[in-house]
């Protein structure tokens, strides 16, 4: 399984903070393409969004980053702490 986390505006927009999905995606991009099929909000937030930030297992990642069973994948907007 994969753990998928959503933070901040993404969490609110997509209506969930986290979910578990089968580990059937080779890269983050494959996962994103699958999630985008859930509807307009998902497509906007995850595919048509230059500001999408990605982390895999707590490290900054990219669309081409490979993922495997047990990974934690997070999606969030640009950070604004400090």
């Amino acid at each position: 399984m994969l753990s998928i986390l959503y933070f901040a505006s993404f969490r609110e927009l997509l209506g969930q903070a986290q979910e578990q999905l089968p580990a059937e995606f080779q890269t983050v991009e494959c996962l994103l393409n699958a999630l985008a099929q859930r509807g307009e909000a998902w497509q906007q937030a995850l595919l048509n969004n230059q500001n999408l930030q990605i982390a895999v297992n707590h490290d900054v990642a990219h669309r081409h980053t490979p993922i495997k069973a047990g990974d934690e994948v997070a999606f969030f907007p640009p950070v604004t702490g400090g």
């Binding site: 933070f7 901040a8 900054v60 997070a74 969030f76 907007p77 950070v79 604004t80 702490g81 400090g82």
Partner: protein
């Protein structure tokens, strides 16, 4: 909520406020050859984007945050000769004038401490997974936008 696993003893993510004197004193404890301590404290401004702000809520990504902050801290120790450093970032609800974040750096000479504290803050702003949501006096809530100036500030260290 104090960080339950102090894997990174120089990083603290918590709801509670902090005391600058205590933190500066703890930072220096056990390091005698310190001549300079630079601290940065970020506070809640009562105005943002021209609007009055009543409440600021800080969300973070537990686990990744600590790791990202420790990475930034270690980068600073690689670039400058430092004796000690510490980062505190609060989460949850805060109000105008409240302290949000502290970076404290101790070194033998001031130049290193000034640069390192500034570097850590610039990197924290663009690399640590925190998000601010502000509430206006009429109850309207909005997520704070990332600033281009923060990205520029970070890039000046490259």
């Amino acid at each position: 909520m104090v960080n339950p696993k102090p894997i990174f003893p120089h990083i603290r993510i918590c709801e509670e406020d902090f005391d600058l004197s205590t933190e500066a004193r703890n930072l220096r404890a056990g390091h005698k050859d310190i001549g300079a301590v630079v601290t940065f404290v970020g506070t809640v401004r009562d105005i943002n984007e021209g609007d009055e702000v009543s409440v600021l809520e800080l969300e973070h990504y537990p686990g990744m945050t600590e790791k990202a902050l420790e990475k930034i801290r270690l980068q600073a120790h690689e670039r400058w000769s430092l004796e000690a450093s510490r980062i505190i970032h609060r989460i949850g609800k805060m109000y105008p004038c409240d302290q949000i974040v502290m970076v404290a750096v101790a070194s033998r000479h001031r130049e290193n401490a000034f640069h390192a504290a500034h570097f850590i803050m610039d990197y924290l702003k663009t690399n640590a997974p925190f998000w601010k949501k502000e509430t206006l006096p009429d109850g309207f809530e909005r997520w704070v936008d990332a600033r281009v100036s923060d990205k520029e500030a970070e890039s000046r260290w490259n």
